[in-house]
Symmetry: D2
Subunit: 349 residues, 4 copies
């Protein structure tokens, strides 16, 4: 690109919005030019409106931007959305209609028949639903979503194993507090504790990976034909969702084949060459006590899933392992940015 | 009892040893008269030798006791053992031979054919193995063990459900740091982190509940005929092991029947009347986000297992729920004391 | 008392309100009969309205009470207030006027000239301001406050040392998250972090101890003539405020005299015989690494201050030490209950 | 430099040793060629011998190095020492004698009359003691130390204020667990707790800053003539020591002058141009609640001290503020590397 593409961030003051801004600082293709947030913040300087919860400070250039209201007309061709689901529903649709390409972290349209639930290494071909949107709705823009933060490590670790026929998956998650946004989880609840419930999370984890791993048919995606059982818990960890996964395959498969499938997994062209793509989408750790959220969440700049502890599971009749991904990078803002890079590479932007 | 029974504590300076001393303070039947620890501590006053890791101080009477070496001849008829497994093996056998009744938290003899793995509400009848020991080995004393701390909530929550035919169990644990003793887990490892591995733990969790829930036949216990798959992790929680359990039954069973089985579970006579028995061995919480380690571990004085979040599990073809127990009370010292109370009530002491 | 006195709790659903209810469960003199909270909760059953943040459950009898609105006429002669400062101002005054004795944890009236800032072991005589209130305002009831949670350990540890002439105090606090109420401090802020600022806290800590340690003169309290410099920080601890205190005395005093003053401190009659008074108001620990919040906050049922690490301070020209008290017990609800007991013993109720 | 200088790390498997290796990865002047550790590790591959406690993995090139024993003859001209104090004493002296330049994080020689306690921005001229060492002891090499990790933020924040005449300093620290090495602090001690004592720490904090801020006279350093009172505590934070500092000056000085002194502080040439020197040695935060360990420890790549909350202190008769520095970067390995860079720039290497 000769010149960086202007970008707007919706929900820019929240925890995921901040992560977008942090990850886009110095991005080779994109430059944050507009920040949008709720009416309470609108009109203020971003540096004053945002209570920055990441280390350090917001980048100077962004700190000086004025916060725009949710109904503002935007100039940026590319829009990242970190809005809450209910607000996202009307705002994102309107912007796609108005000619913007929206890459959204919100849940509103993830399961919509014409909206891709993109994770480029897994399903770059689903991006073609943008064309369907343009045909069906007459949009100049488009709308792509990324998955729930817990679906990311599950789908990424399962993707290289699709070849063995995934039939059933049991997932028990230990999720980080940043997944709940800011202010999010009260310290009085989670300090020295586990909360074995996250509102609305288990249905997402039982559905979204099936779409991500599904097959594009004409104008929609057929879900992968497998059953998922999810239990989601919150643990006192800042970033990084860890999931214990058990999986049954249609065919018999050995440990070496599974490890090899993970280690050699790269995703289709042009994904490995996109700026935010990690060298190794799935990193296999061989120590007995890895992956660990604090020590492995930043693998591949937070864009790799890390797996370990592969062992037979006599109950599901298959294998079990641990999978981890950084929930606000690969599981949110980072994946959305990679999705946008794919859409640029595909010529939709 | 007219007069309290004298009690010795093996491994008295360690974390579980301290919990024995704390729980026996003011016990109606037992009185700590001898404290035994490694040679390093032997000869010192207990109050000086023990780095007390529980809140407050050791009871004054115990603080003044001299620490005895591991090979000391003991006067107390009842001995509680909080020794490491390797040391326990020789010391406990010798003491049982010498006429003491040993109630051990160590793993050395848990799966020994003539040693009961006791949890009174579940398998009080297994105590009859003491008679087998006396007959086979000519002991005046006896040896009873309690389970691994993670097996406790799993076995307790499954016990009331045995009637439905337990076929398969999948368990993913989130275990507290006190389970590793003192000094145990370095803060540099577990702060803001999860360690998805505990050395030697998964095989125990895949075996011990089957013995606890098994059937006494003549001179040994037939394991329950079911398969267990375990994943054990360490989380930044002080006390209380939380386990996500999925279970498949031989017969179809509904939610109401499962809840009723838990709520009405009491254990056989004379267990409910023993001093350390909780009113309700299995407490059912109906809130969506319970049980939580910090808020539920002290239910029933730390002697109740707490269950919640009962839901169908489409993958195992049965039900899933969360179970919790205090790992150093019900999962260690408290259970051992309840076991000793049962042995007294049965006339073995 | 032949029959327990009925008690109302204002702000009953908050964190301190819950602590009142927990501490009053089984109280020999008082019985919770009315619970009052904001309009949002009013009309609901307490068990449904309150998100219980303490371990276990609210007591059954209280869980069944209906939540009353803030403007309700109350039947209980004794009212405990855990209201936020701004709401407390109008509600507490109205209730005192209406004939209730109000014991308040709110800050609104702590420094009011006719309102005692009571901590019975220190200044039981200040309770006579109730008589002043009745004379000046024509009240049938009365209003007594307890201090800010951080002032409690500072004032309690200084009280026995007043005899040596307190001239200057430097205090650096490490405060628990429960001091901020619920939801209070976001986990994203305090996990693995220290926040070196608590809004409004330092001015309180620089003023309130001077009133608590001051002298009753006719119809008001003369502040102790000393200067206090405070720095207040928040640390990832659930309960228990720890304060590093340096103090300069008017006269030379040795270590032994200071220790003896603490150890022998009891407070004036009838305080030591009140139901909530601890045996030892100031507990002196002699280990090098105590007091610690988690291990010492429950000393004296949470009603003792714990001190340790007494050493000369060459900069202030005096002594330095660490002081600790349980912030929601001695520093809030527990102290308020002890205050009420004192008012009963003095015949004001 | 045309070619990187070979470097040896003593105590390479410990927590600070690992930080040396991490920070030297990709260093423009230095390259790790030898790793030395206790006999237990000697002979193993570094990647096998070290339990890596930092995120990710050790650099590949270092992981392949064999661990050398403590008495090995070394080839590297530059040696970094992360040895425990008692072992450091003999090993470091021997290596300096043998012609190596040793930059040590150990405490053994910090207060030795001919050894500089270097923090380049503050006292680069003290490096001339290397010449004294060569003259007095006939060494070809030399020995320079860096301060205790808590002395670093105190000395760095005081250095720009020397001009106002520092007379007295009171410091209360809240120190991170990484300061205790690995395994270091047990999680059972520090979880949800503060430990108000660190063995040997307060005397260091009361002495070392006086040498760092002192004046080079001939062959030794005159300590700064001021008195320091220190209280050191451990808090549940991974990295970053936060210190509440009160200071009295010889002359009256206003807030603006203090802020300006901090903001404009750079250190003498050639320090600002050394590879590890941060742009801003002292970063001034103006928000009311900063500096915070987690959010500010990485300022300047972990090499800046961060100060904030400047307020008058009526007790010391001066000013008070909070200061923070990353304890294993600026307070240990990073400072030692900067010291070595200075020694290279000065021609001692």
């Amino acid at each position: 690109m000769n010149q960086p593409l202007d970008v707007a961030i919706l929900g820019a003051t929240g925890a995921v919005g901040q992560r977008f801004i942090q990850l886009l600082d110095g991005h080779p293709w994109f430059r944050v030019r507009e920040v949008v947030a709720s009416d309470r913040s609108a009109g203020q300087r971003y540096g004053d409106a945002a209570r920055w919860v990441l280390p350090g400070n917001p980048p100077d250039a962004v700190a000086e931007l004025p916060v725009l209201p949710l109904d503002a007309a935007l100039d940026s061709p590319l829009v990242f959305s970190a809005l809450p689901g209910d607000i996202a529903e009307s705002v994102e649709w309107r912007l796609a209609q108005a000619g913007h390409v929206v890459c959204s972290n919100a849940s509103a349209y993830r399961m919509h028949e014409h909206v891709p639930l993109l994770l480029p290494e897994i399903n770059a071909d689903h991006a073609r639903l943008i064309e369907v949107q343009r045909r069906v709705y007459g949009w100049g823009g488009g709308l792509a979503t990324n998955s729930n933060c817990t679906s990311a490590p599950v789908a990424m670790s399962l993707a290289p194993l699709r070849q063995f026929g995934i039939e059933a998956v049991m997932a028990v998650s230990m999720q980080a507090i940043s997944g709940a946004g800011y202010p999010g989880v009260p310290a009085l609840d989670i300090t020295e504790n586990v909360i074995p419930y996250i509102n609305g999370e288990e249905p997402k984890l039982e559905t979204e990976p099936r779409k991500m791993l599904g097959t594009l048919r004409e104008s929609t995606v057929d879900l992968l034909d497998c059953v998922i059982s999810a239990t989601c818990t919150r643990v006192p960890v800042l970033d990084g969702h860890l999931v214990s996964v058990s999986v049954r395959f249609a065919e018999a498969v050995g440990e070496a084949a599974l490890r090899e499938a993970w280690a050699s997994f790269r995703g289709p062209d042009p994904v490995p060459d996109l700026p935010s793509a990690p060298d190794q989408p799935v990193v296999v750790r061989t120590e007995p006590d890895r992956p660990q959220p604090r020590r492995d969440r930043d693998a591949g700049g937070g864009m790799s899933a890390v797996v370990g502890r592969l062992r037979p599971d006599p109950v599901i009749g298959g294998w079990k392992y641990l999978a981890l991904a950084h929930n606000t990078v690969r599981g949110a803002a980072g994946c959305s940015i990679l999705n946008a890079e794919l859409l640029v590479a595909c010529g939709y932007l």
